[in-house]
Each structure stands twice: as structure tokens, then as C-alpha cells.
């Protein structure tokens, strides 16, 4: 029990520090870490967290690639819903394809959704400003997701320690 409390406190402090340092590490969407943690805590003690991280990264990369293609090669908002739909469709199709080689589809979708959410509002409001926020947003989203993933791993480790 003491170990559980100790590890629980460790996770809480770690998350609190992460929230506090969001500006310093550019992780504006810090809440994505909680979602990530919630989603991947179910992987269990024997799950491959590293592979999940790779899947998350693939999802984020595909989302950003889609946004870049939308911004540079397609007509811009507001009259571009068709093109957004096409890019989204192709992106998800790609993710499904990649999932066939062993990548977790849920992680890829979460990565894609997080990545898209991070820059889509900028894309809609100020497409020309995308170039300035793309890299920081990418880093911020990936950090949030990976921190959530690491914390979910720690939570699982806590659960294992408590149940031993």
C-alpha cells in the first residue's frame, strides 16, 4: 500500500510539474496527456508501450503531413471542406494500412486526432501563420502524448505493485 501511495504521489507530482511547465516545453495541449494516459492504461503490464509510442508518433506525423498538404497544395478555407475530407480520408486510410503491420490503430488515431486538433484551428483562421506554429505544435503534441503514455506505464506498474 505504501508503495502504491508513493508511486501514486510520484505520478501526481510528475503530472502537476508537467502542467506547470507546459509553457517551458511548449505543451499547450497538456490535457492530451491525460487522455493518452487513460487510453493506454488498459494496455496492461505486458503491453508494448514503446510500440504504442511509435504508433502515436506515426499518427501525429500523418496529421501534420495532411495539414501541410492542405495548406500548401489545396484551396484554403472556407470553401475547402471537400479537400479536408479527402485528406482526412486518405490519412485514416493510411493509418489503417499501417495498422496491418502491427501498429496500434487506437494509438495512431489518437496521435492523428491530437495532431490535427493542435493546428486545425490555426489552419482555419490563419493558414499563412501555420508555418510558424507547425514545429512547436508538433513537439508539444508529441510531448503531451508521450508523457501520458509514460504515466500510464507508471500507473500500470503501480497497479502491479499493489496487486503483487
Amino acid at each position: 500500500m505504501k508503495k502504491a501511495i508513493g508511486l501514486g504521489l510520484l505520478v501526481a507530482v510528475f503530472f502537476a510539474v508537467f502542467v506547470l511547465c507546459q509553457d517551458m516545453i511548449g505543451a499547450k495541449a497538456f490535457y492530451m496527456a491525460a487522455i493518452s494516459m487513460a487510453m493506454f492504461a488498459v494496455i496492461g503490464p505486458f503491453g508494448d508501450y514503446f510500440k504504442t509510442a511509435l504508433a502515436l508518433l506515426i499518427g501525429v506525423v500523418v496529421a501534420f503531413a495532411g495539414i501541410v498538404v492542405l495548406a500548401l497544395k489545396m484551396p484554403l478555407p472556407p470553401d475547402n471542406l471537400v479537400y479536408v475530407a479527402i485528406v482526412c480520408g486518405i490519412s485514416l486510410f493510411l493509418l489503417v494500412l499501417v495498422s496491418t503491420v502491427g501498429m496500434r490503430i487506437d494509438a495512431m488515431f489518437l496521435g492523428w486526432a491530437s495532431g490535427f486538433a493542435a493546428v486545425y484551428s490555426t489552419y482555419l483562421a490563419n493558414a499563412s501563420g501555420l508555418s510558424a506554429v507547425l514545429a512547436p505544435s508538433f513537439v508539444g503534441v508529441v510531448v503531451s502524448l508521450l508523457v501520458g503514455l509514460v504515466m500510464s506505464l507508471i500507473v500500470v506498474k503501480i497497479a502491479m505493485a499493489v496487486n503483487q
Partner: protein
């Protein structure tokens, strides 16, 4: 599912496009037959040193229905890329122009983004120069170096309108005459620095001070923790200077600044300012008339009935007066010499030559002195001697009735004759009584009369004798007294006339602050006329001349001012024409109307780079952690032996 979703999206898209395009089509339908409208937004991103980081042109083309299949938009600079932003019409970079797919029965409203080739940046000529400088605690530094620092921040934005060109304006003045004026006409640009936002947590004491005629003051508005600063800078000579700057000052802590926009618009703004030009012109005309009268009143030296002419006359009169004074002084010198010769030596005076030993002749006062000396030193002593001798003669003669004593050396003739008479008788006694004694009596009486005055007895009778020695003596004394008075009077005259110094000029004698002698007074007056009145008149004339010149200059300035006032209208017209001509940056389709606006974006000053490094580090750490403890145990996923190859 996916197909249904996409179909729905298409429907949404089509509906949305229909809703969007309906009013546009309606509007465009009204424009059918009109020309092409080409609006350009030239977006220049500045780097940290206020150089050009990138130039993009957002071009909005409104092409009416029935246009050719391809509209050729201008391409004044080489482009690195061209892209249609919001629609699917082909926008292609071609040789010397940008080809835009047009034509059809509907009007088109499309936007394309053109990026300039970096090699073209050096060739780009902006109508307005924009330079942004950053200072932290007085030290100039690039924008990116400010990130995260604290201190007194100063941002200076230097703006200059570079479009000035000489042009000759023609217009009619208030007299209806055609006037030509060469002036520098600019294309009017208004620079708007709006929406510069400063987080109050980072910036305090935010000020945007202005300096009259060179820097407009900014307007600061504090809204919900953010201070917005706005400036409007009209670069519209001649009303506003072509070169201005804005200043923002604030105390900053860990600087983080968003990108700010500087918008440059060619426009000759219509304002609600009250037009006082007519009143000014009327006032200027009156002022001109006033200066004209002053100039005419001052006039010329040769021009009658003018101030300068009058002053010249006064000066001439003063010259004559001075000359007359000089003559008067010379004559007074002569009079003074006639009155008294200070070089004359009375002790060596020779009456025969009429001069002293050195040949100097006496003046009037000297002569009086000589006369006085003659009377006092010679005549009066002579009269005393005469009186003494006459007394001795009287004693020697004697008088009748005196006691007769025996004659001796001391007895009188009368005693001796009386003694003799007593000794003789007869005819001798008769002779003595009848002839000698009466003669002696008359002699004695005449001696007395000669000495003291009275009557002189002769053989035939008596006669009055006024020229006695006593009378002469008294006359000489009176003469001497009169000469004393003359001498005293002449002395006063000599003092009054004054003396001449060794330099031949009247000696300076001042009494109670005023000249004390006639000659010095005349000399003083002459000097005053020559040294003060005439130079004063010259200065007065110079001053009057300067007033005249100044009035002439003022007239010229007023004429220039009036011409400038009268030129205001044509200038405004020329400015408006120039503003209308500033309608493109890249170029425009033939026959199209256009507008161009320039936007300069300052670089954002933030700590993103640092945050990204930390974030990247965290990613690496998380991945390492996941590799270390997040990998699945291999045996868990190993296939049963019978399924393995």
C-alpha cells in the same frame, strides 16, 4: 460508412459553396461588362535585423463574366511560386506573366498567393521604407536576442516615403494670373501600425510618446490584461513630413512579443478637418499689403517722400552743420588768439616792433595788460614825482605874508625878495613891489594850480587849468581801474571762448557734465554730430533699409506662402492622382483597375526555440524510458513451436 460520410461532406460542401457563391454571383452579375479588379496585398516579413525575410503577394482578382479564357496578370518580379488559395482555377507562372484560368459565363473572384524569388529582393523598390529597431536598456540588438530578457525595451519604427518627384504645378493666383511652381510631389501613403499587443504581465509602463513634426504619438488602450498600441502615420508631404518614426517604450520582464503588422496604404485621406485656407489666404493678402506699404514707406535714398530719403537729407544737413561747426571752431580759435596769445611774453615786449622777443604779438587782453602795466608802473609814479617836484618849487618860491628872515640856502624867493625890498628903497623898492612880487605871487599860484588844479594867472588875467598833475593822476587811476575791468572781462571772455591744446584742438573743459567753453562746446557738438548723430543716422538708414529689405523678404515669403496656399488645391489633386496611380506592385492585367496595400510583419520574439529543445529532450527521454521499461516481454508473444517456421 466512409463513402456515406464523404458523400455527406460533398453535399455539405456543395450547399456551402452554393450559399457562398450565390451572393457573389449576383454581385458579379451586376459587374458584367466592367473591367478586371486587381487588388494586391504585398506581405513582407522582416527578419531580426529588419531586412527582408520573405515577400509574398496576395492577389485578389475579380474577373467579370465573359472575359478571355486566360487573363494575363502582371509579373514585375520573378516568382518562386504561385498558388491559387481558395479555388481550383489554374493559376500558372508563365514567361513574363501569371496566367489565370478565366472565361465562362460567371464572374470569378479568386485569390492567389505569389512568392517572390529571393534573388529579386534586392531589386524590390518599396514606396515606403520601413526599418524597425529594438533597444534594450539603450543597447541596440536584433529582435531574436530580446527573447526572455528583461529591461527597458524601446522599439523604434523608422518610416520614410520614398516617392518624391519634382513636378511643375500650374494654377491661377488670386489675381487670376497663371502661376507655375516646381514642387516635390509624393505619392501619399498612410502607415497604420495597429493592433500591436503587449501582455501586461510582461510589459509595464507602456508609452508611445510623440515628438511634434517628426513622430506621432501612439494611442494605447489597456483591455483585459493586454495593452494595444496603435499609430497612424501620414507620410504625405507637404502637410506631413516624408520621414517620421514611432517609438514604443516599456519596462519588460522576460520579453515575449508577437509579430506586429505595419500596413502601408496609398491614400490621400479625406478628413473632417475644417478648411481655413480661404481665411489664411485673405489674411496673407492683407499682411502682404501691410508689408508692401512698409517697404514703400522705407523706400530708397533717391526716392522722394520716403524714410530713407528723409534720413539721407537729415544726414546731409548734419554734414553741413558739422562743417559749419568746424568753421566756427576755426574762427573761434582766431578770435581766441586775438583775445589772448598764450605764447606772448609781455616781459620781452618791444613797443617799437609791437612783438615780444620771439616775435609773438600780443592779443587784446595782453595789450590791455601792457597798457595797465604802463599806467601803473610808469604814469602814476611819474605823476607822484611831478607832484613832489612841484611841491619843492612851491616851497622855493614861497608865499606872501610869511615871516621875513635873513636869506639863506633854505629861505624862499619870496622871503629873499621881501628882505631885499626892506633893504632898498626908491625905484628898486618900487620895482620889487610892482613887478617882482606880483610875478612871484602868480608863479606860486600857478605852481599850485599846475599841481592840484584850479586857475592859472597870466599877465592878462586868469584861466582854468584842468590838466593838473593831480587830475592826470586821478585820470590815470580811473583808466587803470577801467583797464582792470576790461582785463577781467577779457579774462572771462578768454575762459568762455576756451583754449586750444597742443594738438590744435579746443581743450576739453566740462562743467557740470556739459562743455564749459564755446570752442569746446562747438567742437563737442561737431564731434557729436560726426561721431554720433551721423553714424546714428547711418544706422537708422541701415535699420530702415533692413526693415525695407525685411518687408520685401516678408512679401516674398508671403508670396511664396500665398503661392503655396494657392498650390494646395493642385497639390492635393496631384497627390490624389499619384495615389490612384499607385495601384499595383507585381503588375496587373491590361485595362484592369487595381489597388495595392503593403504589410510588413515584424518577427515574433518568443522562447519557442528553447521550449522546443526542452520538448524534444522530453520526447527523447520518454522514448528511452519506454524502450527501457515499456517493451513487452518477448516470450509473451512468441508463437507456439508448432506454428513457427
Amino acid at each position: 460508412m466512409l463513402k456515406r460520410s464523404r458523400f455527406r461532406a460533398y453535399i455539405v460542401c456543395v450547399l456551402a459553396l452554393t450559399m457562398l457563391l450565390l451572393p457573389v454571383s449576383f454581385a458579379m452579375g451586376q459587374e458584367t461588362g466592367s473591367g478586371i479588379q486587381d487588388d494586391e496585398l504585398v506581405v513582407t516579413t522582416l527578419d531580426n535585423q529588419s531586412g527582408i525575410a520573405s515577400i509574398q503577394v496576395l492577389d485578389n482578382l475579380r474577373i467579370p463574366a465573359g472575359s478571355p479564357a486566360e487573363v494575363k496578370d502582371g509579373m514585375g518580379y520573378n516568382l518562386s511560386s504561385v498558388r491559387n488559395l481558395y479555388s481550383s482555377e489554374a493559376v500558372v507562372k508563365k514567361t513574363g506573366y501569371v496566367g489565370i484560368q478565366a472565361g465562362g459565363k460567371t464572374a470569378k473572384d479568386l485569390y492567389y498567393l505569389a512568392a517572390l524569388d529571393k534573388k529579386e529582393y534586392a531589386k524590390v523598390k518599396y514606396p515606403v521604407s520601413v526599418k524597425v529597431e529594438y533597444y534594450l536598456d539603450g543597447e541596440k540588438m536584433p529582435a531574436d536576442k530580446l527573447a526572455g530578457k528583461s529591461g527597458h525595451l524601446k522599439i523604434v519604427c523608422n518610416l520614410e516615403n520614398l516617392t518624391g518627384e519634382k513636378r511643375v504645378l500650374e494654377f491661377k493666383n488670386s489675381q487670376g494670373q497663371l502661376v507655375q511652381k516646381e514642387t516635390e510631389i509624393y505619392t501619399p501613403y498612410v502607415v497604420s501600425l495597429s493592433g500591436w499587443e503587449f501582455n501586461n504581465k510582461i510589459f509595464t509602463n507602456i508609452k508611445a510618446p510623440g515628438v511634434a513634426e517628426v513622430s506621432p504619438e501612439g494611442v494605447t488602450v489597456n483591455v483585459q490584461g493586454v495593452t494595444q498600441v496603435n499609430w497612424t502615420v501620414p507620410l504625405i508631404p507637404p502637410k506631413y513630413p516624408a520621414k517620421q518614426y514611432t517609438v514604443l517604450e516599456a519596462d519588460a520582464t522576460k520579453i515575449d512579443l508577437p509579430s506586429c503588422k505595419i500596413v502601408v496604404i496609398p491614400i490621400c485621406p479625406t478628413t473632417s478637418e475644417i478648411d481655413n485656407l480661404g481665411t489664411f489666404e485673405e489674411s496673407f493678402n492683407k499682411l502682404y499689403d501691410g508689408f508692401d506699404q512698409i517697404q514703400k514707406g522705407v523706400g530708397e535714398r533717391s526716392q522722394n517722400a520716403t524714410l530713407l530719403f528723409g534720413l539721407a537729407k537729415i544726414k546731409d544737413g548734419m554734414g553741413t552743420l558739422s562743417s559749419g561747426m568746424g568753421t566756427l571752431v576755426e574762427k573761434m580759435k582766431m578770435i581766441r588768439d586775438g583775445l589772448s596769445n598764450s605764447a606772448f611774453d609781455a616781459s620781452s615786449y618791444n613797443a617799437a616792433t609791437g612783438a615780444d622777443a620771439s616775435g609773438k604779438t600780443p592779443g587784446l587782453k595782453d595789450a590791455v595788460g601792457l597798457l595797465k602795466a604802463g599806467v601803473q608802473d610808469r604814469a602814476l609814479p611819474a605823476y607822484e614825482m611831478q607832484k613832489m617836484i612841484l611841491g619843492l618849487l612851491d616851497t622855493s618860491v614861497g608865499h606872501a605874508g610869511e615871516a621875513v628872515v635873513e636869506p639863506s640856502d633854505t629861505t624862499s624867493l619870496y622871503n629873499d625878495v621881501a628882505y631885499l625890498k626892506a633893504q632898498v628903497s626908491g625905484p628898486q623898492k618900487q620895482i620889487i613891489t610892482a613887478n617882482i612880487e606880483p610875478k612871484l605871487s602868480r608863479l606860486s599860484s600857478n605852481i599850485k594850480a599846475y599841481r592840484d588844479g584850479g586857475t592859472i594867472a597870466t599877465g592878462s588875467g586868469t584861466m582854468p587849468f584842468p590838466a593838473s598833475v593831480k587830475a592826470l593822476e586821478e585820470g590815470s587811476k580811473e583808466t587803470l581801474a577801467a583797464l582792470d575791468k576790461i582785463d577781467s572781462g577779457l579774462g572771462v571772455m578768454v575762459v568762455g571762448v576756451g583754449s586750444v591744446g597742443a594738438n590744435g584742438q579746443p581743450m576739453k573743459v566740462m562743467v557740470n557734465g556739459s562743455p564749459g567753453t564755446i570752442m569746446y562746446a562747438l567742437s563737442y557738438m561737431k564731434e557729436s554730430i560726426d561721431g554720433q548723430v551721423v553714424p546714428g543716422l547711418d544706422q537708422l538708414a541701415d535699420g530702415a533699409s533692413k526693415i525695407g529689405t525685411g518687408a520685401g523678404g516678408a512679401k516674398d515669403a508671403l508670396t511664396t506662402g500665398l503661392v503655396s496656399l494657392q498650390a494646395a488645391g493642385p497639390t492635393a489633386t496631384a497627390l490624389g492622382e499619384n495615389a490612384a496611380k499607385a495601384d499595383t506592385f507585381l503588375g496587373k492585367p491590361e485595362g484592369a483597375t487595381g489597388r495595392v496595400v503593403y504589410v510588413f510583419q515584424t518577427p515574433a520574439v518568443d522562447q519557442q526555440a528553447g521550449a522546443m529543445k526542452v520538448g524534444a529532450g522530453l520526447i527523447a527521454l520518454a522514448l528511452i524510458l519506454l524502450v527501457a521499461i515499456g517493451r513487452a516481454p518477448k516470450e509473451m508473444f512468441q508463437a507456439p513451436a508448432e506454428n513457427q517456421a
